[in-house]
Amino acid sequence: MIDVIDLRKRYGDLEVLKGITTTIRECEKVVIIGPSGSGKSTFLRCLNCLEDPTGGEIIFEGVNIADMRVDINIHRRRMGMVFQQFNLFNNKNVIENIMLAPVYIRTQELRAKKIKNFFIRIRNLFTSNKKELYEINTTKAKIIEEAKEQALKLLRRIGLEDKAYVYPSTLSGGQKQRIAIIRSLAMNPKVILFDEPTSALDPEMVGEVLDLIKQLADEGMTMVIVTHEMGFARKVATRVLFMDEGQIVEENTPEELFSNPKHPRTKEFLSKVLSVH
């Protein structure tokens, strides 16, 4: 579903990604591990062009979104993203956070259709071969109603419907992150990118967030996860990428990679990380 071909990213003289090639298939759960500074977060942020790649291609649903001429906003709607710092909108309450993007985008589409219909109507007045109007079967009120229903359904799913009208500043880290996850779900994405979703959480809140991610994984959502939680990586991943110095050093199924690493760098990293736990 996402084909990454020789992806490169440099900041000035510093080359952070040195040519990454991989394919993320539908329903796959790809976990990226590696030491800090290895470029794994940059790689993830390049996947939805939050960082513009400086070379290579990212083919998502048949379109090279690394191309600057592509309207990236349309493709980002099909890719959710969850951040380390949650990034809930502080000026909006929980349900507004979830509804903002779906409502805005759907009303925008509705308006575009209406404008097109207007011009078609004018054109039809003057010509004999009538062009068909775009079908409009919704209104703004209906869009808001639907988005609200969906948001409440999502909140009910994570057991936070009583928090629908509070502001993010009153929530715990775990609650914020779970809401951030369902906020990206509200756009019905094809794939969700997780950028160290539990690194900023208190230890006792990590579980609830990982449980939610695991649930989504079991439902068949495609995921790319950057994480330091090795136990979680082993449980959820269908494939683990080990990155170091801007390259994919080794990739394998979690069982193989964790119990039988091939590359010396992977061995070294895993021995350091796993000995702590």
Binding site: L50, M79, Q85, N87, L88, Y104, Y167, R183
Partner: protein, 236 residues
């Protein structure tokens, strides 16, 4: 002291019995109109300039716009407001053959001027908002401008309300220059009273008091707004 009482008496005669207070009220109204219109126009212009100033510059259009905005800010911050007012009223308007009233010219110039100052305030406010907010909005597929207007700017405005209050106070005080183009404000009203009694001490004293009280009231309101905003950070 006897002569002071006499002066007060004279002032009162013109102020109250001869209807001088209607001029003062008109002046007060105009002062408010100009300051409020100036602030509103200033916030709109300032927000636009600030967004242009913080937007990424790898395309040509933002770069050109940014240069224009810098010229604009440079002009309005680099010259006294009196000069701007005179330029607009006596140079620009005749050139375009427009017949605006002095009052509306004042509103416009005050707006343009405060736009330059508000843009700097606003830029600071926008830059103080966590960049993650913008990233989250962009990651949901909203465009740069929509993310800016729906997520970043509302938070920036909240951060800068106290500073905007100060800008409003500056505007109120600056209105005392509008008589240069023939608009009537508090200063005009009181100097009318003064020239009718050949006595300027009391009218100008009262004028100063009115300005001070006005500013104190506005400062109080700003403080109240600030406090209620801070409360909303913790609302349940």
């Amino acid at each position: 002291m006897g002569s002071f009482a006499k002066k007060v008496e004279k002032f009162w005669e013109v102020f109250y019995e001869h209807g001088g207070y209607t001029r003062v009220l008109t002046g007060l109204r105009n002062t408010f109109y100009i300051a409020v219109a100036g602030l509103v126009i200033g916030i709109i212009i300032g927000t636009i300039i600030a967004i242009i100033a913080v937007s990424p510059k790898y395309k040509r259009l933002p770069r050109i716009l940014n240069r224009i905005c810098r010229l604009y800010v440079g002009f309005f911050r680099g010259s006294p407001m009196v000069v701007q007012l005179l330029l607009f009223y006596f140079v620009l308007l005749p050139l375009f053959g427009s017949r605006m009233t002095p009052l509306s010219v004042c509103m416009l110039v005050f707006g343009l001027n405060s736009g330059a100052y508000v843009s700097e305030i606003m830029r600071g406010g926008i830059m103080s908002v966590d960049p993650g907010q913008m990233e989250a909005a962009r990651a949901l597929g909203l465009s740069y401008w929509v993310s800016m207007l729906k997520v970043v700017v509302p938070q920036a405005v909240k951060n800068i309300i106290p500073t905007l209050g100060n800008e409003f106070i500056v505007l109120i005080k600056e209105t005392s220059i509008v008589s240069f183009v023939g608009a009537s404000d508090l200063y005009v009203a009181f100097s009318y009273i003064g020239s009718n009694t050949y006595e300027f001490m009391v009218p100008y004293l009262v004028m100063a008091l009115i300005y001070i009280v006005l500013v104190a009231i506005i400062a109080l309101i700003v403080k109240m707004i600030e406090r209620s905003l801070r409360k909303s950070d913790r609302r349940n």
